[in-house]
């Protein structure tokens, strides 16, 4: 740029001529088909104006009234919110000294988007969102098994609402539901649903959100393929359960949600995974198991302890019984031994007597008898009785033991004096004690 503010570019050209050049260049661009949602539809006598829009942008469109009439679209088909395919090319109205210029996509043919168009668009969007990793975010969120409060986005009047409630009741769940009622089909649906979901997610008590509506064609469910809605859901930190239509994975919302269900009833099971009826029964069983375990642990061990405490006494009794048994056995054995010994001695005596008898019957018997007589006489000479007969007395104590000394006699105090013809008692006194 120089000191006068001029830049080094071609021109300046007259703007009208430039506008015509621009228009001609645009008109030379390839003619194409665009698909998007009709918004801002308005008709004038000469032309019809609308915007064809999707989540990423929009193009202003015009179609000559005559051309539109020639298409023969059914009454009411062309309306805001409807998905249309527009064929044509870019154009530029250069305006004039008094009218404003305008860019538009000059439409020469217009038709309602068919299932195939929608599916193609859905696939493109699906591919895009998947490549951004948006399908994984919700699935990574932890879902509570027993939420106390849930949010539900659905139409206020509809079977989906009733079915969901019935499903929740069947699970025995009666927590809090916050209803976010929203249109579920027309062009207002997607933004309204997205807003309701965001508001529900902003409530701290809400632990999971269900988005549900009944079945329909892909065009009916198109709001649930809205890119903005799906991006919103993907980024939420609250799990969203999608139950839209009667088939899973039909809409893009199914792809980005934490769980996709085919019916509101299934959605009830997904949002409250715990069957509360069954859980109550299970809890009662758990409580009983704990009680049994606690009581059993104490009583079982008590029994064991009592058993242990009785152990020593039982062992002692066992030992005593064994001891008595042994004693009896020993006694019996000893008596048996004594009897045997006696029998043996008897047999021995008989043998000795028998030998003696046989010896006595022999030739030396007379000599032996004489020797025996002499021995008897000698033996008798030593018997105390023989001594007593000679005038001696035998001093005995009370037990009959002989007392052979004065000290023992004094100690005994009383003696029995045995004479040859009988015995008398005698009190002992120290010698000279009587004086």
């Amino acid at each position: 740029m120089d000191s006068l503010g001029r830049v080094e570019l071609p021109g300046p050209f007259a703007v009208g001529r430039y506008a015509k050049t621009l228009r001609d260049e645009l008109r030379r661009r390839a003619r194409v088909q665009l698909i998007g949602e009709i918004t801002g539809l308005r008709h004038t006598r000469k032309q019809t104006y609308f915007e064809l829009r999707d989540a990423e942008g929009a193009v202003p469109c015009t179609i000559w009234a005559g051309e539109l009439a020639a298409l023969g679209l059914p009454e009411g088909t062309l309306r805001d919110g409807a998905e249309f395919v527009a064929a044509g090319g870019p154009d530029y109205f250069i305006g004039s000294a008094t009218s404003s210029p305008a860019f538009s996509f000059r439409v020469t043919h217009l038709r309602l988007a068919g299932e195939g168009d929608l599916l193609a668009r859905l696939e493109a969007l699906r591919k895009q969102l998947r490549s951004e990793g948006l399908f994984e975010l919700q699935r990574q969120l932890a879902r509570p098994r027993l939420p106390k409060a849930i949010g539900v986005v659905t139409a206020e009047s509809g079977a989906a609402r009733r079915d969901l409630l019935a499903g929740l009741r069947r699970r025995g769940w009666a927590g809090s539901i916050v209803w976010g009622f929203a249109p579920v089909q027309d062009r207002r649906a997607a933004p309204a649903i997205a807003a309701a979901i965001q508001e529900l997610a902003a409530m701290p008590a809400v632990e999971a959100i269900v988005v549900t509506r009944g079945g329909g064609s892909l065009a009916d469910l198109w709001a649930f393929c809205d890119e903005t809605l799906c991006r919103t859901v993907a980024m939420l930190r609250v799990p969203v359960i999608s139950a839209v239509g009667h088939e899973r994975d039909a809409t893009l919302l199914d792809d980005v949600a934490a769980v996709a269900c085919s019916t509101p009833t299934h959605a009830a099971e997904a949002v409250v995974p715990l069957d509360c009826h069954a859980a109550r029964g299970e809890l009662v069983r758990s409580a009983a198991a704990l009680r049994r375990a606690g009581e059993g642990a104490v009583s079982g061990r008590s029994r064991h302890l009592v058993g242990l405490a009785r152990g020593p006494a039982r062992a002692l009794r066992r030992e005593r019984i064994a001891l008595n048994q042994k004693t009896r056995e020993i006694r019996a054995s000893s008596e048996r031994g004594l009897a045997q010994r006696r029998a043996f001695q008897r047999r021995l005596a008989l043998v000795v007597l028998d030998r003696a008898a046989r010896r006595a019957a022999g030739p030396e018997a007379a000599a032996r008898r004489e020797a025996l007589r002499r021995a008897e006489v000698a033996f008798r000479a030593h018997e105390p009785e023989r001594t007593l007969e000679r005038g001696y007395a035998l001093a005995e104590d009370a037990a009959g033991e002989p007392v052979t000394g004065a000290a023992a006699a004094l100690a005994a105090g009383h003696l029995r004096l045995r004479f040859a013809d009988g015995a008398v008692g005698a009190a002992i006194e120290p010698e000279g004690g009587g004086q």
Binding site: L146, G175, V178, W179, G180, C276, S286, L290
Partner: protein
Amino acid sequence: MSEQPRSYEIAVERLEQIIDRLDSGQAGLRETLDLCREGRELVTYCSAELDAVGKDLEELRLDELAARLEAPGDS
């Protein structure tokens, strides 16, 4: 009561562990009594959680809640 479980599912998971351990018969007396006490606390907690969603279904409307919040002077 000892530390409150963070959620119903955590409580139930712990309760199942406790009952498995008790059923194994390998816990000593002290451990058994401690597990029984902890288990009873978990049962009480779970029971309260189930009671909280077992009485009457409460239905609220988002639009009414929003209107209530926006109403001036209304707490």
